[in-house]
């Protein structure tokens, strides 16, 4: 019987190789992928997030946990899809047009994936049209935007406008975050949620999905 605690610990401590090997062993032993995800992997990332919130973990530790989670998920994804297992939601995430900062976006993407979401990471300098296209083509339910500069923040509003003009605004939730972003700004531009941290982004995304 595989040692699931080993998988949990590997993800929590950021040991991607061990996470991958333990996952391979579990699959070989016939363990259901959804069990691994829901009972061991997501709780491990949730604990990593909790440690980050209380300053026990910092950005490096959180990124490494996310990498270990990703290593396991890559093995599980084909089987999850084949079994019809549903993710918590599909998120298109990116840093807005004109902005090349990605560390915050990477953290949020990692936490969302760890929280059971399917994440389409569009990278940096993402145009409004690209966000729109991803919503249409991939049926993204959440658009998550990051900006680190006051000069690029306006691209968030431009993207929301593009979603409206594209006729999809009503079927997506828009979440925003980044150093210069505030709740007030999020409200002003018509975003559905503002995340102050990578960990709060997961809670926000879950609330957004529940609101549908």
């Amino acid at each position: 019987m595989p040692d699931f605690k080993l998988l949990y610990d590997a993800i929590l401590k950021g040991y991607a190789k061990t996470a991958k090997e333990t996952t391979e062993q579990a699959l070989a032993d016939g363990v259901e992928p959804i069990v691994l995800v829901q009972e061991w992997m997501v709780p491990a990332m949730t604990e990593a997030g909790r440690r980050f919130e209380c300053n026990d973990y910092f950005v490096p530790e959180l990124l490494l946990s996310a990498r270990a989670m990703k290593a396991s998920l890559e093995l599980l994804r084909p089987r999850l899809v084949a079994s019809g297992a549903k993710s918590a939601g599909r998120v298109a995430i990116g840093t807005v047009q004109g902005d090349l900062h990605d560390i915050g976006k990477n953290l949020v993407a990692a936490m969302l994936e760890g929280g059971g979401f399917e994440v389409i990471d569009l990278g940096v300098n993402v145009t409004p049209d690209r966000f729109l296209a991803t919503v249409k083509e991939k049926n993204a339910q959440i658009v998550a935007m990051s900006a680190l500069l006051t000069t690029t923040m306006p691209a968030m509003k431009t993207t929301i406008d593009a979603l409206k003009q594209g006729g999809v605004r009503d079927r997506v939730k828009v979440l925003v975050g980044g150093a210069p972003i505030t709740q007030k700004y999020a409200d002003e531009i018509g975003a559905d949620g503002y995340g102050e941290s990578a960990v709060s982004a997961v809670t926000l995304a879950k609330q957004a999905m529940a609101a549908d």
Binding site: G14, N55, V59, P60, L64, D102, T150, T182
Partner: protein, 316 residues
């Protein structure tokens, strides 16, 4: 002592790209603000891409934004070991050195403060920001190699600022604020301590700026041996002022975006007054912005800030 050069564009009509590529434009913007606010100091602009560009990083430039680093220059230990250390004056570092030389000639003799990135933040740009974070744990030797080379260059660069006539420099080390206090000590503070020993004396001081640092990082930052620190909104200044020796000066921390860009002047005046009141008991505090004030911050906000500071000083 707000870190503000780019808002001077509103007075000179230049673009951000002019400031970061041309010493005349940079001086003009800073002098315009200096004259408007009668500041006792003048600064070179904060631009955290300059040193990385000198090392060979590819830079993204646009008309109205400070340049940023694209991609990664170093991906493995061998590349880090072979990476050449540039010289002061290479690429756009010459713009900032020349800016300081010209500011030194101002007839009212303000304090002239140069600026540079910190060694870990520079090393992170060489390795890629997200990657560098992980490498501090998975490949510490690679990061130490890069930080050591970054510190080597910064020692030379700061010496050049000193030679150009600067009274000091603000060293911006935000990436280190994302690390644990222990890692900050190992990958940042230890190197800054060496830079301080090499460069600082009674005529040249280093101010360590870290807008990502939290109160738990303060002991690691104090390990640098520096005497002046500049913080962002995450640092509870009234609380930590009581924790440092009276000869340690702490500066900060009205947020450049949520305060200077997004609040009306009356509210900025209120926030300034509140912060001054909360820190009134401490002689080792200098009110400032929490980081570089962006180019699009309305001057009316800076007006409100400086008027409130002036009024408080006059009334005290």
């Amino acid at each position: 002592m707000p870190i503000a050069v780019y808002p001077g564009l509103a007075l000179t009509g230049a673009k951000v790209q002019d400031i970061v590529t041309n010493a005349t434009a940079q001086c003009d913007a800073q002098i315009a603000l200096h004259e408007r606010y009668r500041t006792p100091f003048v600064l070179s602009a904060m631009d955290l891409s300059v040193e990385a560009e000198a090392f060979g990083c590819t830079i993204h430039k646009s008309e109205n934004e400070v340049p940023s680093v694209l991609g990664r220059l170093v991906t493995n230990l061998e590349q880090a070991q072979q990476l050449a250390v540039p010289k002061p004056g290479d690429k756009r570092t010459s713009v900032y050195l020349e800016t300081v030389r010209r500011l030194r000639k101002l007839v009212d003799h303000p304090l002239v403060i140069g600026g540079c990135i910190g060694p870990f933040s520079l090393a992170a740009r060489l390795a890629g920001m997200s990657e560098a974070m992980e490498l501090t744990i998975t490949e510490p030797d690679l990061m130490h190699t890069l930080v050591a080379k970054s510190a080597s260059f910064l020692t030379l660069y700061l010496s050049a600022f000193k030679e150009a006539g600067a009274d000091g420099a603000i060293m911006a080390e935000p990436a280190a604020g994302l690390l644990s206090p222990r890692s900050m000590g190992a990958f940042s503070s230890a190197y800054i301590r060496e830079i301080e020993s090499a460069v600082c004396d009674g005529h040249f001081a280093l101010i360590l700026h870290n807008c990502a640092a939290k109160p738990l990082h303060l002991p690691s930052m104090l390990e640098t041996g520096l005497g002046t620190f500049h913080f962002g909104a995450l640092m509870d200044l009234p609380a930590v002022l009581g924790q440092v020796a009276p000869e340690i000066v702490l500066c900060g921390n009205l947020d450049p975006t949520s305060v200077f860009c997004q609040l009306p002047p009356l509210e900025i005046a209120a926030r300034t007054a509140n912060l001054l009141a909360a820190t009134a008991a401490y002689r080792n505090y200098v009110i400032s912005s929490g980081c570089d004030v962006p180019p699009n911050a309305p001057l009316t906000g800076l007006d409100a800030f400086f008027n409130t500071v002036d009024n408080t000083i006059q009334n005290s």
